[in-house]
């Protein structure tokens, strides 16, 4: 019950606020429809909506092409080093697209970008690729989400019953025809679902279009909302109204996606017997496919990381790498008191907060599993609402919900935790559900039949079996929280700053190399966490199996 209030209050306050002339609670505010009229009908907002939809669709389609191709290469061909490549394919998803954006600014800014400068030296072309453009935004998103599409399609390809394809071979179709006629239709629901998920993610992202689009006049709804919130004079009520547009987009996407997921359960026949699919023998071509995957990893991980490291060691962003340009100052700044606060906060929120959220989601999953029937279904649906609400809007809603309350939550770490809790509730509860589903009732009952009490059976059987899944959930929550910027950016105060917010502010004030230094630090921490998680709990390996 309390849960319902916590979940619904921020959303309700956004809708309420969108009809007001001032923030909720301010004495001289009245009702108005003006915000809605502007947000739904004024030309700049309509064009932002079109941009948002167009961007989301382009990114989703291209990500599927790139991710799908790589998934096919790794799942179905004899390309060398497939297993290692598959593990590496998860990494781009773990590095936030904000960090990738910074890296690509270093690589492809029109004048100072490393790639542009290098090509200019060779060919004299002034700017081979300008990252500040629609194409730049698409590139950064696709590099990030191709990894997501890969994971989804790889799992789908693996789970297609091999005998279905073999049957197709037996009636005389070759590998290519079989892929087109059997495999593709079988995984079509997964493709549709993945498209929508990526679409919704891209449509609610504000950081990439703000950094890469705003300078050239390209606005999406989220970047416009951020602009309205952050740039004085701020217009929060107008932001709320245009936020409702985004909520509709997200809700439609989520509903469609749920519908497709239901179908995909019906189509994809998972074999328990682990029958292996036929591998396509590529001959010499297998080096080409290896190269293709390696190229993606180069563009999505290696090159950006290198650019960030070099950029973070410079006084200012320049392609002229003379000795005098190098400095360690940007890292020294990391150790000033203010920035150390941010580092500590980030680690504390991601580590301790992530652990607390893991425990809460596990308990929720356990409790929701108990309350079956109508009440359980209501709660089930309510938990997907915050996932559909864009983070930025959630931030606005939380401010309005808590700023007026007598309890001192606004401006504390607690409000950030509430935001993270709501952001990840859908994912967290679902993962916890999956963990519990691994323990069939039989296993626990078998322990009781040998004389174990309820508690003993839980400790001896359930806990060891779900432990890896729970630790993996913690790892993922660590990463999500550690990278979170969209909700945090509206909710933090100097005392509760986090690494991404500091990075964001350095970008805003033009101190790019300092931002790069923070990005490098963030990326390194993520790499360490991922490495340890893989080492101890096989997190990456299991996420490939799912």
């Amino acid at each position: 019950m309390l849960l319902l209030v916590v979940i619904l209050a921020p959303v309700a306050s956004v809708f309420y606020g969108s009809f007001r002339t001032g923030p909720p609670g301010s004495p001289d505010a009245g009702f108005t429809l003006q915000n809605w009229v502007t947000a739904y009908f004024s030309p700049s907002y309509v064009s932002a909506l079109i941009n948002t939809v167009w961007l989301g669709a382009t990114v989703a389609a291209l990500s599927l092409v790139v991710g799908g191709t790589i998934a096919w290469i790794i799942a179905r061909t004899d390309t060398p080093g497939r297993m290692q490549l598959a593990l590496l394919m998860i990494v781009p998803l773990m590095i936030s697209n904000l960090i990738t954006t910074l890296a690509w600014i270093a690589l492809a800014a029109p004048n100072a970008g490393f790639i542009n400068a290098y090509v200019r030296g060779w060919t004299g072309v002034r700017t081979i690729f300008n990252i500040y453009s629609f194409a730049g935004i698409v590139l950064v998103h696709v590099l990030h989400y191709a990894s997501f599409a890969f994971l989804a399609l790889f799992a789908a390809l693996k789970s297609v019953d091999a005998s279905l394809e073999e049957a197709s071979y037996m009636v005389g179709y070759g590998p290519v025809q079989t892929s087109a006629r059997m495999t593709l239709p079988l995984i079509a629901p997964t493709i549709a679902t993945t498209f929508l998920v990526i679409f919704v993610f891209v449509a609610e992202n504000f950081s990439v279009p703000t950094l890469l689009g705003t300078p050239v006049g390209f606005q999406t709804l989220p970047s416009l909302i951020y602009y309205n919130m952050a740039v004085t004079p701020s217009q929060p009520n107008l932001a709320a109204a245009s936020g409702t547009v985004l909520v509709w987009v997200a809700i439609i996407g989520t509903i469609l996606q749920r519908r497709f997921t239901r179908h995909s359960d019906r189509y994809v026949t998972v074999t328990g017997k682990g029958s292996r699919q036929r591998e396509v023998r590529l001959g010499q071509w297998r080096y080409a496919t290896f190269g293709l995957v390696a190229l993606y990893l180069l563009l999505a991980v290696a090159l950006p990381y290198l650019a960030l490291v070099i950029g973070s060691l410079l006084n200012f962003l320049t392609p002229n790498l003379r000795w005098s340009a190098f400095t360690l100052d940007n890292y020294r700044v990391l150790f000033t008191e203010d920035n150390l606060t941010a580092v500590t906060n980030s680690l504390l929120l991601a580590g301790g907060g992530g652990l607390a959220l893991t425990a809460i989601y596990v308990l929720m999953s356990f409790a929701l599993g108990r309350v079956r029937g109508a009440w359980g279904r209501v709660t089930d649906y309510v938990t997907i609402i915050p996932t559909a609400v864009p983070a930025l809007i959630l931030g606005v809603g939380l401010i309005w919900t808590f700023v007026g309350l007598p309890v001192p939550i606004y401006g504390t770490m607690a409000i950030l935790m509430i935001a993270y809790f709501l952001r990840n509730i859908g994912y967290g509860v679902r993962q916890a559900d999956n963990a519990f589903n691994q323990v069939s009732g039989d296993l626990v009952e078998a322990a009781r039949m040998t004389g174990a009490s309820r508690l003993r059976a839980f400790l001896d059987v359930s806990v060891p079996i779900i432990k890896p899944a729970i630790f993996s959930l913690w790892t993922m929550l660590f990463i999500f929280i550690f990278m979170e910027v969209s909700a945090t950016i509206l909710l933090y105060t100097p005392a509760t700053r986090t690494m991404p917010t500091v990075l964001w502010n350095y970008m805003g004030s033009g101190s790019q190399p300092r931002a790069f230094a923070i990005a490098v630090a963030q990326a390194n921490i993520i790499f360490i966490v991922l490495y340890l998680a893989e080492r101890w709990f096989k997190t990456l390996r299991t996420s490939l199996d799912k």
């Binding site: 039989d442 009781r448 004389g451 174990a452 001896d460 079996i465």
Partner: protein, 356 residues
């Protein structure tokens, strides 16, 4: 002495009566097999006995101790009952040895004594050398044996088995069925086994219970149930059977003659008097029909038949015969060809009148 007493057991799930007032006893050292179609309440019965489900009504007594009665329920771990699950439910994160040893850790037993017991039981089920393997690396039959060893090592008063053979393929199922009976007898255990496979039931059981929609249709030894099924359902469910409907035309104390259709007269040995002119259903097992021989003058229950279908099984064939327009199943090693005419005789003592 009855190790298990079930009295008036009832279990209701929402609107379904999964078990409807059933009672039975299981004697010491017996293997009781409960057989019935899908959804008839077998698993529910077993889970009530195990304590994994609380009965809606009824009393369950194990070894003279009431373990379940209205408002009272001993938790499963204190009932001293062992159970083998349909999925085997071997713990995937423990080795074979650890699976079997788990229950012993709670008995006051020295580590050496426990080790000895586990090793001993694994040897008895033929799994020496498999101690350090994980369940996922075992074959179905081996997993099954680990599951049995895990229960047997605790020497429970009563062992419950929920369709433990249904995950195995046909050949292995037959082999394990015989081994299972031997092992249960070897351990001297009393067992309740459930299955929906009537052949498995007959092969395993000392006593069988035939269940249908939550009720008991018949209790008895496999022989009794096969030879004198209590009703149409049991006759049809257990073993092959043909049915004829006729009107009693002549009756005396020991037998009656029935007119089936217009021309076929069949004498039946009866245990209870039959009202002349009453209608009855007769059940005839394949082994009640003899094929072959020459027609004798004035012999009763003798007919000419035509073979409609043959299923060759090696030692004998199953035939579907046309006898005066009625279809009857018979077993024989006479090697008839389809369409061939032959003489058949039906043993009056092997025909059973079945109500409804």
């Amino acid at each position: 002495m009855a190790v298990l007493k079930v009295e008036n057991l009832t279990k209701v799930f929402g609107a379904t009566r999964a078990i409807d007032n059933i009672s039975f006893d299981v004697e010491l050292g017996d293997i009781m097999v409960i057989v019935g179609g899908s959804g008839c309440g077998k698993t529910t019965t077993l889970r009530c006995i195990a304590g994994l489900e609380d009965p809606t009504d009824g009393v369950i007594t194990v070894d003279g101790k009431v373990v379940a009665a209205p408002g009272r329920s001993v938790p499963p771990e204190q009932r001293g009952i062992g159970m083998v699950f349909q999925s085997y439910a071997l713990w995937p994160h423990r080795t074979v040895f650890e699976n079997v040893a788990y229950g012993l850790q709670r008995r006051n037993l020295s580590a050496d004594a426990a080790r000895e017991k586990v090793t001993g039981i694994l040897k008895q089920v033929g799994l020496s050398g498999f101690e350090d393997r994980y369940p996922s690396t075992l074959s179905g039959g081996q997993q099954q044996r680990v599951a049995l060893a895990r229960s047997a090592v605790l020497q429970p008063r009563l062992l419950l088995l929920d369709e433990p053979l249904s995950n195995l393929d046909a050949k292995l199922r037959e082999q394990m069925r015989d081994e299972l009976r031997e092992m249960i007898k070897m351990f001297g255990m009393t067992a309740v086994h459930i299955t929906h496979d009537q052949a498995e039931a007959m092969a395993l059981a000392d006593t069988m219970i035939c269940m249908r929609s939550g009720r008991i249709e018949q209790v008895g030894s496999p022989r009794e149930i096969y030879r004198t099924p209590a009703n149409f359902y049991v006759a049809d469910f257990i073993g092959a059977c043909s049915f004829l409907t006729g009107v009693a035309v002549e009756t005396d104390d020991e037998s009656s003659t029935f007119l089936i259709g217009d021309a076929m007269r069949l004498r039946v040995r009866t245990r209870a008097p039959v009202q002349p002119g009453s209608k009855s259903v007769m059940a005839i097992r394949p082994d009640g029909i003899q094929i072959g021989g020459a027609m004798e003058a004035n012999a009763e229950n003798q007919f000419t038949a035509t073979t409609l279908r043959e299923t060759f099984l090696g030692s004998h064939s199953e035939y579907l015969l046309d006898v005066g327009g009625h279809r009857l199943k018979a077993d024989s090693s006479a090697d008839l060809t389809v369409g061939q005419a032959c003489r058949v005789r039906i043993d009056p003592a092997k025909i059973v009148l079945v109500p409804g």
